[in-house]
């Protein structure tokens, strides 16, 4: 039973040999610290960009816990993802300060512009959209992030230009 959107290469193997080595070293290093699962998952997501099933299995085996326990933690926290994310991760803030200043309209515009819904990734793998709850830059509300870059005081008509700029950079 294979899920859609899951990288089939990773299903079989643990990504590149380099990724595999990093993951295994990570598990070895943290294994003895109590409560290390969250940390390992965060780092593993850094290595792979998301948490494919095979990675979760490896972590479960490495820590001597069940896969269901790992999966339970992965699906509990919104930061962990079971599907790959875009090269440019867009995160529109839907925190209260941004919401009252119309960030729902920004999100709608991004969705319209990219033709995908929040939580999805474009076919070319260039963009994915997520919503987040407060990046803490409330002074600039409404705010969205593309990767690490923060764009503030947004209006829907600014969205196109910002996305174009990132498309250019990736050409």
């Amino acid at each position: 039973m294979k899920q859609e959107n899951v990288c089939t290469a990773c299903e079989e193997k643990l990504g590149t040999p380099e990724q595999e080595a990093r993951l295994k070293a990570l598990i070895e290093e943290c294994k003895s610290t109590p409560g290390c699962l969250m940390h390992i998952l965060q780092e593993a997501q850094g290595i792979y960009g998301y948490l494919p099933m095979q990675v979760q299995k490896t972590i479960a085996e490495g820590l001597g816990i069940s896969l269901s326990e790992v999966y339970g933690v992965v699906t509990f926290y919104s930061q962990f993802s079971l599907t790959p994310k875009g090269k440019n991760r867009i995160s529109v803030c839907l925190g209260t300060a941004c919401y009252v200043k119309g960030s729902d309209k920004i999100l709608a515009e991004v969705e319209k512009e990219l033709g995908i819904k929040c939580g999805e990734c474009t076919e070319d793998g260039l963009f994915s959209i997520d919503s987040c709850r407060c990046v803490g830059a409330c002074g600039l509300a409404p705010v969205m992030m593309v990767g690490e870059e923060v764009y503030g005081k947004l209006t829907p008509d600014m969205v196109h230009g910002i996305l174009e700029q990132h498309r250019e950079e990736n050409k």
């Binding site: 933690v73 925190g95 209260t96 600039l140």
Partner: protein
């Protein structure tokens, strides 16, 4: 490090810090001793970095080099508070407060102000500091700063956030020295108790009591935790403390460790705060290198160390038992209490958990004494409170005021009122667990108990101002979407209650609400409050109950008249074109995403082209036409 060495650092940098705290004349005299003619403080908090304050610093450095200036110090600090006007930059000893800086502005300031014999560039200053007659008033006397009292934020925007020496010179680690050498654990606890400090995370539980319980618990191993999982959307005071003065948290946790007999601390911080996490890591590294964390602190024989644990985006982890479960590496689900964490907390050991702002108050309480601290505030709420002012307000930013300050003072004086001449409708405090304070209570002195009495709560300190364009039903739906999404699902009242409540509210905003829905909502809210396992479910109904109490008319208007007078709830809006005003330019029709607008055959008197009309059956109420019409012919009702 020994106490003498700590003292030496304090003395060495004291004057440098004092220049930033004194009035202009004294500061100017002192500046001569420091080796720096001028100091430029640039905000490196998340708000200002997001508007590119790092580019301002880079430009300053380049310009100074170009001009051959080597006696000006550039300092990257934490938040100054006035985030709306960032990036902010202050030049001492004059205290010139520049706002909305760009690299070009920085170049101008370097060339005209920072050079020898330079003058303040008035046109780039925060205009609130420029008097009508052209004279410059100190920023501490502007309406935004005048009524503030900075205790928790005392060092934010004053010291270099990544420099432990500056933190020490500004007073950090003075309290831990006093505690380790001159106070017994019991004396520490009674001092904190006497100060009247109450937890700043939401519920306002007396901090000293928490410590007392944990001390009384038997056990070799105990833990001290810091809740930096600031989940309330729109609140950013904890982040600002961590970014501006991380050492004050480390110090306070060490003091608590000494008081209850713990040797390990954990800071649970949101992963969404990369700057804060980075500064904490730097601070912990520096404190360890100085021997202010680790074995035998300052030669006292007391051991204490702190580790960081990153959250992964779950609002429920702000609840104390859920937070501890999460540190243990599990799904962050809450546990029933009792046993309380003070008895059985992290890894089953006695644990105390306080939030960042609470920790930030500990140093002043120990150094200046409980008597001084308890003289500030109201009868049952002592000290100050930091608020993150946001929403429809001019001075969006971070403010710290004594407990008992009225909402009017915060909104109208400090906050600078509502922009665009709109009317104040309500202030939302306490985030998804709190409620709304309507205009008629604007003169209520804000403290823990008064807020509860009017149906809201202090929460962690998010204060979102709402104006007449906000629909109260929509706002409570917004919060329910949040809590329904964030409910961990462990207990039924919260898991299903939030979902059902959201369904009912959605129905009302879509104009399908029935009169009996209001009673259903009230009954459901009461059940959730009384039977949910943790504070998330118990407080999730608050935004609904408080808006229903204060703005019942709006709910009724949605249900009986199918009207949303704030013009927010899409399903209840109708767009029409005033055919007399329409000049027939067709801009609305061209931009309509669903081709719902077409030309009629009516030509209004005085116009050449026939007017347009909207087909209500096709209209999706997106509002694009309204935004495009330059002749105010599109009407939303």
């Amino acid at each position: 490090m020994t106490v003498q060495e700590l003292d030496a650092i304090r003395k060495q940098k004291k004057e440098l810090i004092d220049v930033r705290r004194l009035v202009k004349e004294q500061a100017e005299k002192l500046a001569a001793n420091t080796g720096y003619r001028k100091q430029v403080l640039v905000c490196g908090g998340t708000g200002c970095t997001s508007s590119h304050s790092m580019k301002v610093i880079a430009q300053l450095e380049a310009s100074l080099k170009e001009l051959g200036i080597d006696d000006v110090l550039i300092v990257k600090t934490g938040c100054f508070g006035l985030c709306a006007l960032g990036p902010i930059m202050i030049v001492y000893p004059e205290g010139a407060f520049y706002s909305q800086m760009t690299p070009e502005h920085a170049k101008t300031v370097a060339e005209k102000h920072l050079i020898k014999g330079g003058q303040i560039v008035k046109e780039l200053l925060y205009q609130g500091t420029v008097h009508e007659d052209g004279s410059i008033i100190p920023f501490a006397e502007t309406p935004f700063y005048k009524k503030q009292m900075r205790i928790a934020l005392r060092n934010c925007g004053v010291i270099a956030a990544e420099d432990i020496d500056e933190a020490i010179a500004a007073g950090d680690y003075e309290a831990v020295e006093k505690v380790l050498f001159h106070m017994t654990p019991d004396e520490v606890i009674s001092e904190v108790l006497a100060s009247g400090l109450r937890g700043r995370g939401g519920a306002g539980f007396p901090t000293g009591k928490k410590w007392q319980f944990a001390k009384a618990s038997q056990g070799e191993i105990k833990y001290v935790c810091c809740n930096a999982d600031e989940g309330d959307p729109g609140a950013f005071m904890d982040r600002s403390v961590l970014e501006g003065d991380p050492h004050c948290v480390l110090e306070a946790m060490t003091i608590a460790g000494y008081a209850i007999g713990a040797h390990q601390g954990y800071i649970y911080v949101r992963a969404e705060y990369p700057v804060a996490v980075e500064r904490l890591k730097i601070a912990i590294g520096q404190a360890r290198a100085y021997g202010l964390l680790g074995k035998n602190i300052l030669g006292s024989g007391f051991d204490f160390d702190i580790d960081i644990r990153l959250g992964a985006g779950a609002f429920v982890c702000g609840e104390e038992t859920a937070l501890m479960t999460s540190i243990e590496g599990h799904r962050g689900e809450p546990r029933p209490r009792p046993p309380f964490p003070a008895v059985k907390g992290l890894f089953g050991k006695p644990t105390i958990l306080n939030n960042v702002e609470t920790w930030a108050n500990i140093n002043p309480i120990i150094v200046k004494g409980a008597k001084w601290y308890s003289s500030i505030g109201t009868e049952k709420s002592k000290g100050t409170k930091v608020f993150a002012l946001g929403g429809k307000i001019t001075n969006v930013g971070l403010v710290e005021v004594p407990m008992g300050t009225t909402l009017r003072e915060i909104v109208e004086e400090i906050g600078g009122g509502i922009p665009n001449g709109k009317k104040f409708k309500a202030a939302q405090t306490g985030g998804p667990s709190g409620g709304c304070i309507p205009a008629e209570y604007i003169d209520t002195p804000i403290d823990f108990d008064n807020l509860v009495a009017i149906g809201s709560m202090m929460g962690s300190g998010g204060l979102i101002v709402l104006d007449e364009d906000t629909c109260m039903v929509d706002i409570s739906k917004f919060y329910l979407e949040f809590t329904a999404d964030e409910s961990c699902g462990k207990c039924t009242p919260c898991r299903i209650g939030t979902r059902r409540l959201l369904d009912l509210l959605t129905k009302i905003t879509e104009g399908k609400g029935k009169p009996e829905d209001l009673e259903k909502i009230e009954a459901l809210c009461e059940h959730m409050k009384s039977s949910s396992l943790c504070a998330l479910g118990q407080s999730a109904p608050n935004p609904v109950l408080s808006t229903m109490h204060h703005f019942r008319k709006e709910y009724e208007e949605h249900i009986y008249e199918h009207k949303c007078s704030a013009g927010v709830c899409k399903a209840l809006l109708n767009y029409t074109i005033d055919k007399e005003k329409c000049i027939g330019c067709g801009l609305c029709s061209k931009n309509c995403p669903v081709s719902a607008i077409s030309r009629t055959d009516y030509v209004a008197p005085g116009h050449k082209l026939a007017s347009f009309a909207i087909d209500p059956a096709k209209c999706i109420k997106c509002g694009v036409c309204l935004g495009n019409c330059k002749f105010k012919a599109v009407v939303r009702k």
